[in-house]
């Protein structure tokens, strides 16, 4: 007997063979008359300008990182969700503590601005007393900023 995952492999084979067969059938029927213009990359009828591998937003990378964290944690939670009821309230608390930590991490990311799509707002650390400060510089500062304005 085939195992259940063996059946899935047959599904995969069917899908791959189906696509390849259709493409081959189309290849037998269709014409093929390439010209230089046809083989040009499509850019609304203009000649392609510059490298196609444009710079993309760094946020895509950050989203992928956050996704990775969540995904791994969810994978850890699935076995827990299947069995926790056998252990009563204690079993639930184990998962709940983990979930709360996950929530805290999420709240931290949110506060740091990693969930905003626009450029994250930089929140500088608040230093109450400047390390190198004397009376003169502290008084000179407002004057300096006035000059700038």
């Amino acid at each position: 007997m085939l195992t259940e995952f063996g059946k899935i492999f047959v599904f995969l084979l069917v899908a791959v063979i189906f696509v390849i067969a259709l493409v081959i059938v189309a290849w037998l029927i269709r014409p093929s008359r390439p010209t230089k213009e046809k083989l040009m990359t499509y850019e609304c009828g203009e000649n392609p300008e510059g490298s196609p591998w444009v710079k993309f937003n760094i946020r895509f990378y950050v989203v992928a990182l956050i996704f990775l964290i969540f995904d791994v944690e969810v994978v850890l939670l699935i076995p827990w969700a299947l069995v926790y009821r056998q252990f009563g309230l204690g079993g639930f608390m184990v998962g709940a503590i983990f979930l709360i930590m996950l929530g805290l991490g999420m709240a931290y990311e949110w506060r740091k601005g990693d969930l905003e799509w626009e450029r994250a707002k930089i929140i500088p650390p608040v230093i109450k007393r400047p390390v190198f400060s004397s009376k003169e510089t502290r008084e000179a500062e407002p004057v300096k900023s006035k000059q700038l304005v």
């Binding site: 290849w27 269709r30 196609p52």
Partner: protein, 366 residues
């Protein structure tokens, strides 16, 4: 299941060979969803999409081929078959040709674990729910491959957006599915459907089978979970409000800009197969899967062979119903911006699904 055993016994009685029986039964039952569901559904849905959008905009839509244009998709397929298949000089040939295969295989794999009726499920794996999530994640690789190998700015941007969107919206999906796993204690889709047997008040959206206090406590949270799951699966198949990966007005058509002919048709078919697959997942999880809401005609008349057919019809009509809802939403809601899209996922859906998960966990324990 029953179909598989029937085919196996049929071939076994002819050839007396277990290997031959296994192989024939498996190949035929793997071909069934393709020829009974995916292909006819794609043909129907493409026509339906054009008709629905036309009528919503007070137009007629296709009218020439066949009565009310019902042969339009067939004509389109014949046209696409003879279209020249252009691989531009700058494309990465190998990856460019592999991408449609990966995308279609990813969306067809989902059908392997869907319970179509009590007589037929492609593969009755215990990890059904998790397998479906994993298989739909497979599509991302194909889409990124298509975008990268196209060597085109629109394609690359579309693929990037699509990948970011699909992986982001996977998390609320998994969180809602996790709540279902917590309540039912199973990840097998067939068992999950069998649990919701009987009448419609046994469906998961109404708190599952049985009458206890927890069932009534579940109902509001199940409704929240249902809406969350529907929104996030809608985003996973890149349908409008969430179609920025292939926004026609800014990105031509996203990651399949460079594709033409049959390869383009494959992307299109994968998209429609995906639309049905996510609708079927939503209905299998929350709306009883193949179960009828009112009992079966087969039971009333004592015709037991009728029940699996009825179940398949219920399953297909639930799926088609949600596909129609998706088409309706397409002409109702405007497209979201990228930042709104990400904010909806990370700032609304995930926290909501998260709180939902903890509350449902508390209810099941208490």
């Amino acid at each position: 299941m029953i179909i598989y055993d029937f085919l196996y016994n049929l071939v076994f009685s002819i050839t007396q060979s277990a290997v031959a029986g296994d192989i024939t039964a498996m190949v035929i039952s793997a071909l069934l969803p393709l020829f009974i569901l995916v292909l006819p559904f794609a043909l129907l849905a493409v026509w339906l999409e054009r008709k629905v959008s036309a009528h919503m905009q007070d137009r007629l839509g296709p009218m020439r081929t066949g009565s009310h244009g019902w042969l339009q998709t067939v004509a389109d397929v014949i046209k696409l078959l003879q279209k020249e298949d252009i691989v531009a000089a700058a494309n990465d040939r190998t990856l460019f040709n592999i991408a449609p295969i990966l995308v279609f295989a990813g969306s067809y794999l989902v059908f392997a674990a869907l319970p179509f009726s009590s007589a037929y499920i492609g593969s009755n794996i215990d990890l059904g729910l998790i397998f479906i999530i994993a298989a739909s994640g497979f599509v991302v690789a194909g889409i990124l491959m298509a975008g990268w190998s196209s060597n085109n700015k629109y394609s690359l941007l579309g693929a990037m957006r699509s990948a970011a969107q699909i992986i982001s919206y996977e998390i609320p999906t998994i969180l809602v599915i996790l709540t279902i796993i917590m309540i039912t204690g199973t990840t097998n889709l067939r068992t999950l459907s069998e649990m919701q047997t009987g009448y419609f008040w046994n469906w998961m959206i109404f708190g599952g089978a049985g009458f206890s206090l927890s069932k009534f406590l579940f109902i509001p949270f199940m409704l929240i979970g249902f809406v969350t799951l529907f929104i996030s699966t809608l985003a996973e198949v890149n349908r409008t409000p969430f179609d920025i990966p292939e926004a026609e007005s800014e990105l031509v058509s996203g990651y399949h800009t460079e594709y033409s002919g049959m390869k383009f048709a494959m992307f299109f078919m994968a998209e429609y197969a995906n639309m049905f697959a996510v609708s079927a997942i939503v209905s299998a999880i929350f709306l009883g899967g193949y179960q009828s809401p009112f009992g079966y005609l087969g039971n009333t008349f004592g015709l037991h062979w009728l029940i699996p057919i009825e179940q398949f019809l219920w399953f297909a009509s639930k799926g088609v119903f949600f596909v129609l809802v998706q088409m309706w939403l397409r002409w109702t809601l405007p497209r979201l911006r990228v930042d709104q899209l990400m904010a909806l996922c990370w700032k609304y859906l995930i926290p909501i699904a998260f709180v939902n998960l903890i509350i449902i966990g508390l209810i099941t324990v208490l």
